[in-house]
Symmetry: C2
Subunit: 887 residues, 2 copies
């Protein structure tokens, strides 16, 4: 039979699953011969048995605990329940994964009416002893006995009022004795039983209570949100109490082994002489910064420094520790990996690799790509002193400044005038999507991390603070109130989606910065990754930025964005609506010159690197005025009976637009279908690309265009278009007398293309998975409609685990991609395959692309750093899995 | 080395590939000891070598031909080029597959200035001899020497005019001699060489010319249309000429061994005493019906009857023969399988099976399901004597009567008034689709079998005659003229898309009939098929019809059709737009009663058989007024400033409809997405189904509802809906205290459903492939848009070989189906799988469904017979393939 409990000097510190994080840390420290108060861990397995037996402690447990307590007594020389030299313990929960504040801890267990006196004597502080006692009764009453905590608070406040005390510290020992009496009375009244004086009874109750706290509603909800399995269970740590308030040579502190904000290798934390943890919390005395300790107590500081060094050596990770000094003796109470900012994480990883503490691979793996994402958002300048008026959930990272508006219509109106607004709503619904798009960020007073506002803004990469319950919105007054401050429509606020803070006025924002360590980390990542990182960029300046951020090519240059530019649109209209061949040719000729300039710019920036240019993709009617608007105009002109010539023109245009309308434009006349039915536009584009490339070549540069034909679903589409367009390319090159290195290829974005990739590879030198459209078709989701109409509900109801437009759906879309890769490479082994959908910047999706053996992932320039780390992770993790397989 | 030529008594009659159809027939007949004029076949391999060497006859060929001619001389006692007893031969092409009229034949080869005299003497008919000679020169000149045929026709007509002859027969021998002179002159002038007198030179030229005729433009186009491989090549038959015009004991005839119109077992054909084939064509004399021959010449008749019997015994198939009697001696010139009407084909197959001539399996395989299709269209009553005014291509089968209209707008206008119209256009374009839909049929003066009109009408199952070049359309006069007849807009015509005929006025049409033999054939088919045939039916009367036609279940009952009915629509509106819970519930309650009636009717008709009922599928906005119409109304009301209350109502409705609009409704809020976001409608439907079923059950009937949840793409959609709806089902059954046998399942119409079919099968008792939507998603084709905007162009340009909405695309959609079947059955081996897209009635697609191992195919009731035959074919063909594999 497995052991139910382990003393700290015998438990396996690497087995967090069995001992919980806190217990494992205590065991490790004990075995590293660091000073740890004597104690033991009751394993998570016991907790499992507790639940399996319907909430009963295993029969043998309390006997074993009794024996362990005797051993503790021997180790400490104190005795459980001994009025002269009482052994007191803390009972602390601790699961494999940290769930801060979710489960219960009971301190000072072992106190009763007799031992409290012994404590008073030994600490020479009656007030402290009775304060500890009343706290213990309060905790025990609430946690173990289930008394409503308010009862204790009311009694406590009642007595304070009675004796005219404002602060808790103004209460004297006598007051605390009275409160102890009242607390015991409350327990008797509420529960019909006495507060247990027997320390063993206290211990049994406390252990059960900690186990029980694993399954409180809030703990379960927490685990569900963070996807922590419910069957990890908690361990119970029974630890000898040590006291930091036993004189000037005592004290208590918390420390990080490195600076969690900057990552600097220096102790960081706080220390309070002659105090217990509660005093730090009460905030009456200002703690010392750990750095100051160096001066005030060099010996203590050195001791802490040594311990920190040993812990880092052992854990190879920055630690967050708690410790107490009791009459000059140092006690470590906890150690765990320290939470840190993204910046700090990067510096620590890079430094530790340079220190030789961890390998370069580990340094890269230490950084979650999602942390990188945070670093790439705008942040509130930490140096700024803004007035934080409220705090909600940090639902979507980044910071935004704008004028407060209370409905989506207004957000859209002001957004159209280029005003920056923050949409403030009790909660959002699909009707608000337009408003969210128009706003800089969103603030809601209701809803959690999976509320509509949270899901939608995260999807859009827009900052949001949600569930900020302290703000009271009054839609009629068009204002909200919070802690006495009233914010009216039009007032400026700043929201910090990374922290959940709401700041009055315009806080200064800082652009994301790339530190030297960050650059180092990215270089490390590049060493390990196998996937290349390309960028989606439509303009030279985007290409430049992408290259600076490490892009190794352009995976998607969307030519339609060039068509939509205001100055060009009239030419595009002319081309589409031309009534004569000449008119059409004239418009195309002008567009040719413009496009040549566009392509020259991008090819120049990406000199020597591949640039995948997608030929015109959207249906032509997208470039024309909207049907509804024209209809409205025509009806109004008809009714007014003025300007018949203009009516006629409008009617004509309406008719043209009507003829081009489509029931489902997403699946209509676009992409290569347009290319085949109206070849002149693509020919113009290919001519422009090769004119640009040839000119650059003649200037001594190295342009590498790759022509991408979109929406191919049948090999013949590609075959026919490639033949016709390659003809144009050859013609231009021969005119210029130069050879440009180029490729022809296609997007794989129609399911049929993936399913027949072998045939298609015959005519394609590259594939680029267009996973946005591929996801639309595979799910039969029109993204425009799904996100507004049912996607939120689907995620809320758990029908979908994730939004497949954000993270690649391995089971469906991924299966098609796998088929596409296998068939494509089967036919053409050197086929270049990448992905240019939005998934190309999503770490989980990048991992999948690595597994599929793609050549590159392409994403928007600002996400390139995330993607580089994710690519390295994918390679390293795959390597680990590979090793695992051979073990 | 392979033999280049085979005498008829040595060639392998079963090797049509080597000898061509005609040659193989002659060989077979010779070896069956039927009277065949001596001759030989030059193989298709020689033709292949001819092309492979760039158009040269193999070096050794003419020597071998020379030797064969000597053998012929021996066999016939005549001599090639002998002025006294000349051997004359015909040179006939003949490929493996018949290409009627596509390749060339040369008769009377061996005639020259000397031998013509010998022929005149032996036939005692100088006129005949010279007529044969001038025809030979004309054919030879045109075909072998490449002289423009018009030159000969002009000279011929010129001489006729000169001598005042109206008919060719009025020309005397002298005239024909003069024409021969002129013809030879023409050849000399046009080609600078003399007409060759040397019969061997004639022979060589004729053989080359036949080979060359394999690759004329029209022959190539024909092969492309009928998908005949270009590398079959033609053989050349050299056959001793026999003459049916050598006196009253001579004659010529054609005959079918059974009646090709009715299938009756009786000789059918024509015979002309003392005549050659040309005389039959010239039509001056009326031939005898073969039946009459029995009386006029019982001996000949008996001889023919014997030969017919032997041929049928040998070929086990109805034959179409040509024969000539020369001075009492019978000669068979050709035999081949006879073309026949669908009715006839069915009777012949069934009769032959009963006669023991063929097996029952063969009888079923003899009937092409496409023939069945023809039988199911309305036909022009063959007894009717309509005035056929023109003949075009029989582009889309069936007959239609209607008033002539010349543009699509008018067709639509009149169509809306329920008038029957025939759309007459020079050719159609995608703009005409609306007009085609409104019309009963289409007639065009231009275009071929793959023209827009042909493709679109075949797709719609609407009759069409295209490329009817003799009609001259005058769009201004709104009329067309043909052979002196003028047809004006509004005049009634009948088109026969099965024959290509255009008939003036209203010809009587007959409904498709099911003959006794047809019923027998279908019963035979049922014995062999493995697939079940189910029907798509929304109403009791459709279900009844389907059951009569052999349906074994209903594979798709679309409940939305019930919603669209005029009387119900207001209730549906009320349900959708309800502003209070009560209003909505009230509307649902009324709909419940109505739906219960619908389902009761269908379940009753299909007593004991499964009925798959699909829950509401389309987006709700499809039931509401169109956005554009509402917008128009609102604008007009706003401008008129009258009736503000009505304006307000209209504005409100507009707003509701606007909120429900979708960018791509095909991929929007419909199917199970609607079910999940608005569960009340589906609950009402399931309640209605089970109320109906329970009532029937209590009446002692056996209803078998299967509830189909549409558009599932993720297993959770099905899981959630099934749970909720099965709850309703149980509730209703428990209320009635009966158990209904039912299933829950889903459509597989979203690619992701096929890709994750294993997960989905966990919660589905049946799958039904919705291949219409699956094809849309797999290709990313919006059918509405594709068919109007680019599908025609794609088929015309050969980008698509076929319309994937008509025939299942095996490579793409089919691959998804295969994945779906394998994964689904892998998880649940007894999973019932069918198909309910339009492909369920397409023979080629049914074959694929058989191969996939589906349980059933479901199609519209009237196509059930086609599908039954196709299902049997699939099973029999698969069996054959299986046998093949084990041989």
């Amino acid at each position: 039979m497995a052991k139910n409990l382990y003393f700290f000097d015998e438990g396996d510190g690497s087995n967090k699953k069995l001992l919980g994080g806190k217990g494992a840390g205590l065991c490790t420290m004990a075995q590293l011969e660091l000073p740890v108060p004597p104690g033991f861990v009751i394993t998570t397995e016991v907790c499992r048995r507790y639940y399996e037996s319907g909430g009963k402690l295993p029969g043998e447990l309390m006997d074993e605990v009794g024996a362990a307590m005797q051993k503790l007594e021997k180790l400490t020389g104190k005795h459980f329940g001994d009025p002269n030299n009482p052994l007191l313990v803390s009972i602390r929960s601790g699961s494999m994964l940290s769930m801060p504040g979710m489960m219960d801890t009971i301190l000072n267990l072992g106190l009763n009416d007799e031992t409290v006196e012994g404590l008073a004597k030994r600490t020479k502080n009656e007030r402290f002893a009775y304060d500890a006692y009343r706290r213990f009764i309060q905790m025990f009453g609430k946690i173990v006995l289930g008394v409503n905590g308010k009862k204790f608070e009311e009694a406590f406040d009642g007595h304070k009022h009675k004796v005219g005390a404002k602060l808790d510290t103004e209460l004297k020992a006598e007051d605390l004795k009275e409160i102890v009496r009242q607390f015991k009375q409350i327990i008797k009244e509420e529960k019909g039983e006495e507060f247990p004086n027997d320390p063993h009874e206290q211990l049994r109750g406390a252990i059960s209570a900690v186990f029980k706290s694993w399954n409180t509603k809030r703990a379960k909800e927490y685990r569900e949100f963070y996807k922590i399995p419910h069957d990890l269970y908690t361990a119970v740590n029974v630890v000898t109490m040590v006291f930091g308030n036993m004189g000037p040579d005592s004290g208590t502190g918390v420390a990080f082994t490195r600076d969690p904000a900057t990552g600097k290798k220096t102790l960081f934390g706080e220390f309070l002489f002659n105090a217990q943890g509660e005093d730090v919390v009460a905030g009456v005395r200002t703690p010392l910064k750990i750095a100051e300790l160096e001066e005030k107590s060099p010996q203590l500081y050195q001791q802490l420094l040594d311990i920190a060094g040993k812990l880092e050596q052992h854990y190879r990770e920055m630690q967050d520790v708690e410790f107490t000094v009791e009459q000059g003796k140092f006690y470590m109470l906890q150690t765990r990996a320290g939470k840190r900012t993204a910046q700090s994480a990067v510096k620590i990883a890079v430094d530790m690799a340079e220190e030789g503490l961890i390998t370069r691979e580990e340094a890269v793996l230490r950084i979650d790509p999602k942390q990188i994402e945070q670093m790439l958002h705008k942040q509130v300048d930490p140096k700024a002193k803004g007035q934080v008026i409220a705090k909600g959930l940090n639902a979507s990272p980044g910071a935004a400044v704008g004028k407060v508006v209370f409905d989506s219509e207004q957000a859209k109106e002001m957004g159209e005038k280029k005003e920056k607004v923050i949409l403030v709503r009790p909660e959002t619904s699909p009707d608000d999507v337009g408003g969210i798009i128009a706003a800089q960020g969103v603030l809601t007073s209701r809803g959690g991390m999976t509320s509509h506002a949270a899901v939608v803004t995260r999807g859009m990469g827009k900052p949001a603070v949600v569930g900020c319950e302290s703000i009271k919105i009054d839609p009629n007054k068009r204002s909200f109130e919070v802690n006495g401050v009233t914010v009216k429509e039009g007032d400026t606020i700043t929201i910090n989606g990374s922290t959940g803070e709401v700041i009055l006025g315009e806080a200064p924002l800082i652009e994301p910065q790339m530190s030297a360590e960050f650059e180092k980390l990215l270089s490390l990542a590049d060493e390990f990754k196998r996937l290349q990182n390309w960028a989606n960029a439509d303009y030279p300046q985007d290409a430049k930025r992408a290259r600076e951020l490490g892009a190794q090519g352009i995976g998607l240059c969307r030519t339609e964005h060039m068509f939509f530019e205001e100055k060009r649109l009239p030419l595009v209209h002319q081309m589409i609506l031309a009534e004569t061949e000449e008119e059409r040719k004239g418009a195309l000729k002008k567009l040719l010159e413009i496009q040549k300039g566009d392509f020259k710019g991008i090819l120049k920036e990406m000199n020597g690197l591949p640039v995948v240019i997608r030929l015109l993709d959207p249906p032509l009617h997208e470039f024309l005025p909207k049907y509804e608007e024209l209809l409205e105009e025509v009806i109004m002109r008809r009714m007014s009976r003025e300007k018949p010539a203009e009516l006629e023109a409008a009617e004509k245009l309406l008719k043209r637009v009507e003829a081009m309308r489509e029931a489902n434009p997403m699946m209509g006349l676009r992409g290569c279908r347009l290319g085949i039915t109206r070849p002149d536009i693509n020919e113009m584009q290919v001519r422009a690309i090769f004119e640009a490339a040839c000119e650059l070549k003649r200037e001594g540069r190295d342009p590498r265009p790759e022509i991408m034909i979109p929406l191919v679903g049948h090999v013949n589409e590609l075959k026919v278009m490639r033949k016709q367009l390659e003809q144009v390319a050859r013609e231009v090159m021969s005119k210029h007398g130069v050879d440009v290195s180029y490729k022809f290829g296609t997007m794989i974005e129609v399911p049929r293309a993936a399913l027949t990739a072998d045939e298609i590879a015959e005519f394609a030198e590259f594939f680029s998975f267009g996973t946005n459209d591929l996801t639309q078709m595979t799910y039969a989701y029109s993204r425009d409609d799904a996100e507004g109409k049912f996607m939120f509900k689907y995620i809320e109801q758990g029908i979908l685990d994730f939004d497949p437009f954000q993270t690649l759906d391995r089971k469906g879309v991924g299966k098609l991609m796998r088929i596409g890769v296998e068939l494509g490479r089967g036919r053409r082994s050197e086929l270049e395959i990448g992905i240019c959908g939005e998934h190309g910047g999503d770490p989980e999706s990048i991992k999948f692309c690595h597994e599929l053996g793609l050549n590159y992932v392409s994403c928007s320039p600002f996400r390139i750093p995330v993607a580089r780390i994710a690519a390295a992770h994918a390679a390293l993790r795959a390597g680990e899995a590979e090793k695992q397989r051979y073990l």
